[in-house]
Symmetry: C2
Subunit: 330 residues, 2 copies
């Protein structure tokens, strides 16, 4: 299946979208926070390109929030990506994207992550990214709202996007050594160029892989369709997260909830440093360390052998919410 080439202004348009997303999300978050402001660092990459990193610290809602934009280019993609996209070998590449991680202060407000990115390399191009929610205290209606909003962003592009990308998200944000998902998921996709298969992850028999293999109709979307899809996803973030933050930010909490939040943040660190391809790739290829590790929480706790009390909300979180499930059901 031949993939049609991107329009000649593709790089400029996507990078503008990524910049706009960073702007809109930062404005929305500053308004939501009500006190904190984003500080910006612009940086250049010696090998080509650069970015702007923005961080809000010690806000009212956000203990820390980081939103990065970057646009980089170079001689060749690293081996880890070439393995998935051998056609890109020997070609220069271009990549642009926006990423974000928020660590709220109140333990009843979930941590959340977003990343959308675009690559071109020789004959191939693709969109990737997603958004996922990591609550500390479980609220089914929050999970439902988050997933519903993302599904609403996916459906206009293709009815199978949400079901595949939701499963792929559960698969990707999984801590094997803890046997739990990072949170209640969301959507995740990579290497999307408008052609089947939709699932292009490493697993052969995962639910995402199986569901994707079972799809009957061929998929044939163009560059413009996927550009629109990336936009829809990016612009769905504030409506997906804002109402949850508003609803939970004033719930009173004490030292116990705070300590549980700090403990659970340890899992976020474990995922990002042990499994997250973007983080590991960035650290190993001389990315801007401070921007990459902006995803790590401002304060974290580990406790040997911790077990939540049976029947507690803390136990409910891991027993029910950190296992993949259909959040739209019921």
């Amino acid at each position: 299946m031949t993939v049609s080439p991107p329009p000649s202004d593709a790089q400029a348009r996507v990078s503008q979208l990524m910049r706009d997303l960073q702007d809109e999300i930062c404005q929305g978050l500053a308004r939501l926070d009500g006190a904190g402001e984003f500080q910006e660092d612009s940086w250049e990459r010696p090998e080509g390109g650069g970015g702007r990193s923005r961080v809000l610290r010690e806000g009212k809602l956000l203990e820390q929030g980081g939103v990065n934009f970057s646009e980089v280019w170079g001689q060749e993609l690293p081996p880890s990506i070439l393995k998935q996209r051998p056609e890109a070998a020997g070609h220069g590449f271009y990549a642009t994207g926006t990423s974000m991680v928020l660590h709220p202060r109140n333990p009843y407000v979930p941590t959340v992550h977003l990343n959308y990115r675009y690559f071109e390399a020789g004959p191939v191009w693709w969109f990737g990214g997603g958004a996922d929610l990591t609550p500390y205290y479980p609220f089914r209606e929050d999970a439902q709202h988050f997933h519903r909003t993302l599904k609403g962003a996916c459906d206009p592009s293709h009815p199978e996007f949400y079901p595949v990308f939701k499963r792929w998200c559960d698969e990707y944000f999984y801590l094997k050594h803890r046997q739990e998902t990072r949170g209640i998921g969301g959507i995740f996709f990579d290497y999307q160029d408008g052609q089947a298969p939709l699932y292009r992850g490493p697993e052969k028999d995962s639910p995402a892989a199986q569901y994707s293999q079972g799809l009957e109709n061929p998929i044939s979307l163009g560059w413009e369709d996927l550009f629109q899809f990336a936009q829809n996803c990016g612009r769905a973030f504030l409506p997906a997260y804002g109402p949850i933050a508003e609803k939970r930010r004033a719930i009173p909490y004490g030292e116990e909830e705070r300590q549980f939040q700090l403990y659970r943040r340890g899992r976020y660190v474990e995922f990002n440093l042990v499994y997250d391809r973007g983080t590991i790739f960035g650290l190993q290829t001389n990315g801007r360390t401070e921007s990459i590790l902006m995803s790590l929480p401002p304060l974290v706790r580990w406790q040997y052998g911790y077990q939540p009390a049976p029947g507690s909300p803390e136990a409910e979180l891991t027993e029910i919410y950190l296992k993949p499930q259909d959040w739209l059901a019921g």
Copy 2:
């Protein structure tokens, strides 16, 4: 070069040594701490073997200290080890070891790590391990004492052990993405079976590799020599660390020093989760997660873009102490 087989009671003797080391170190640390006590969990590994994990929390000297013993066996070593020891492929393996990480409360007392281990697999056997010190505030005499004591443990076995293993330690405990060592080093070695080359790490041109290549005399030690060496190293830990802890534990400190300690602990997490082969190997092969991650600090902080004030002790740490150097000079 053919390596002579180990004595028939090798496994029993090394595993007894590792148990004894755990006992002696725990007793020494509990005495040093003066308040905290180690709690033990015994565990079994479904695939063969088990261990005992001991942790001391909220002591007077130690905010957290973990000392593990384990003895495991199975069908075949994982690919990452077979790559270094292809002769072991297709053979069952046996491994035993003791490991320890201490996170003291007072920021003037350094964090410290120790690990000694022994492997047998088919025609090959080897000893590995080491100990390294991670200060938060720099004291040249502490680095000197630590290195001197380790050198004293190495020299009776072979005069080239310390110079090679000291360089290998600097190479191994290195955070590429921060361009700094984890601390002031110590010794590190692996795959030691009494034959040259002493350096058996992955680098071709590192200082450790070059120094090892430059050695003129063949090395020919037997199993008993290396067993004695492992003993000497293990028993050098308390004399290497105890006097430093005693000297620094009563230095008054405030919020600033505490915050710097929490910040620097972030680097410990970054090293262990991104680079440490033992940690990654353990997590990916269904090791006992709680025992493996006992090395992580009880409380940690990340701060985007932190820079120590010029001329401060915090700046001196990274500028001088986190670069490899000869601590015995001067």
